[in-house]
Symmetry: C2
Subunit: 304 residues, 2 copies
């Protein structure tokens, strides 16, 4: 049994009000895979890179126990590259460069050894590719979590609707929930989105925390207030990796476990933003994570 | 012993995407006083109106057990009038009309019977008037909670700084916390504001909930996600009234009780936005309030 993460493994160049990086490792599968690896020991990645991608970074994944058999390396081609600049509020950003490179014709090949997939994390990619992965798995995973973004709502609506029908959990941000549903109220947006396929909806609100909806209930967790947010890149993917990693660890899917999964995801995401790229989530200790979980309990617990 | 609320008692005309009102009752002391009256039975108001203010609305206050001896009625003058229009997001609004009328030269007279004030809520008014109230109380109240807004930061900075030195709790929204401190990070903003006088800082974030800081701790509560927000006017004052009303009820000031006070304030504010003006908070039952508190517990409680 395993947790398969599909997404991008890529290079990013990031500028924030606090500094600037050259090409560093990024991509949704990198963040989600690393985050999940702290909670579950059978994490497997499906992604594609060019032969410009350093072996040392693949070794990094393997050292976290992440299986990279499904990471295709395209000879003579270049890895996906994204460059962006964050505004002073750190919530909005401009994309400076998007070089699809190997991603342009990504065909997600599922190694035979991945057919034991029980938990599937569909990182942000074209809905068509996300759907292909589901169809190539001979057994329907116990849990499919899907991330997406406004870009696909704009250019691939029908594919997105088809893919949504196949998943259990959708994770999007508040603006995306509004766009997807055409409703301003997040309660109404959730009601509508839960008729599109997913049984659970996770709405990510950045510094304002996360909401979880199913048809009967709603749960909210605040984000940990941080003195310094250094780089928000990858926080959403780190959250998603922690979220599904926790559910894989406990093995039972219900609303109560999803609440805790939200806390674990939020805790891991709170580390992610403390340094550039995935640097901070590369070498977390169990003590680090436990201390952060304790901070979340202190932040939210009251006794009425 | 009593809870004294100083603020405005006024007329509002409100337009939201859901409808429009003629002149209805509004003002910070109206909302805060009504909210506090559900939790504490010795609430007293200091405010000023013109003789255009209906006796039936004063009777409403009295029927809630609110003492109106400190509500001055100026013969031949008009009550403060505010008119505003909310944008579609319901978080931003344009002020259409501000007629100060009786408020222009408001001298807050403290009746002798109010000198037993133990809990003082300074609703949003000029910092100079807020300060006058503190100075006219012979005994320093056990707890002083102050609300203010960006407007006073722009035009009465020095008075605001002087008044801040005299209070225990400041309640402002996130943008105001950033403006007051010059810090974007709310953690850094809180650290700075807590050197200006208040021992506790409450940051109101509307639909994103509330943060509470002291020098050692932080607590966050989400807002209850609502399908319909009809009119946000007065939600912040209702919150403040519920907050100080709860503390007056329990009688002990510490961080733990403040957490619960945040929940009570948020619960009352969640009613306020369901109808125009203070209509919804005029006739709440104990069952209504308990059910809403239970909803908050369900919304926030997890077990790690």
């Amino acid at each position: 049994m395993s947790l398969v993460v599909i997404g991008t493994v890529a290079f990013d160049a990031i500028e924030t009000p606090f500094g600037k990086t050259d090409r560093i490792i990024g991509g949704s599968a990198s963040y989600a895979g690393l985050a999940a690896s702290y909670l579950y020991n059978k994490v497997k990645i499906v992604a594609v890179v060019g032969d410009d991608f350093p072996q040392s970074d693949i070794d990094d994944f393997n050292n976290h126990g992440i299986d990279t058999e499904g990471l295709q390396i395209k000879k003579g081609e270049k890895s996906f590259f994204w460059s962006g600049k964050y505004h002073n509020d750190m919530n909005t950003r401009d994309t400076l460069v998007t070089d699809l490179n190997v991603l342009a014709d990504f065909d997600p090949i599922i190694p035979e050894s991945y057919q034991d997939c029980e938990y599937l994390m569909l990182g942000n990619l074209t809905p068509q590719v996300q759907q292909t992965v589901i169809k190539r798995l001979r057994n329907r995973p116990k849990l499919i979590v899907m991330d997406t973004m406004n870009f696909w709502m704009n250019i691939a609506w029908d594919d997105l609707m088809d893919t949504l029908k196949l998943v259990d959990v959708l994770t999007i941000n508040d603006e995306e929930a509004r766009q997807l549903s055409g409703e301003f109220s997040l309660v109404k947006a959730a009601r509508k989105i839960l008729t599109m396929g997913p049984k659970y909806l996770v709405i990510k609100k950045g510094e304002h925390g996360v909401l979880l909806f199913d048809n009967d209930s709603v749960f909210a967790t605040p984000a940990l207030p941080l003195a310094d947010v250094f780089d928000p890149t990858g926080a959403g993917d780190t959250f998603a990796g922690g979220f599904i990693g926790y559910l894989a660890k406990v093995g039972t899917i219900n609303f109560n476990n999803m609440k805790n999964a939200l806390i674990y995801g939020s805790a891991l995401a709170s580390f992610c933003v403390e340094k550039f790229g995935p640097e901070r989530i590369k070498d977390l200790t169990e003590e680090d994570i436990n201390a952060r979980l304790k901070a979340f309990v202190g932040l939210s617990r009251f006794d009425i």
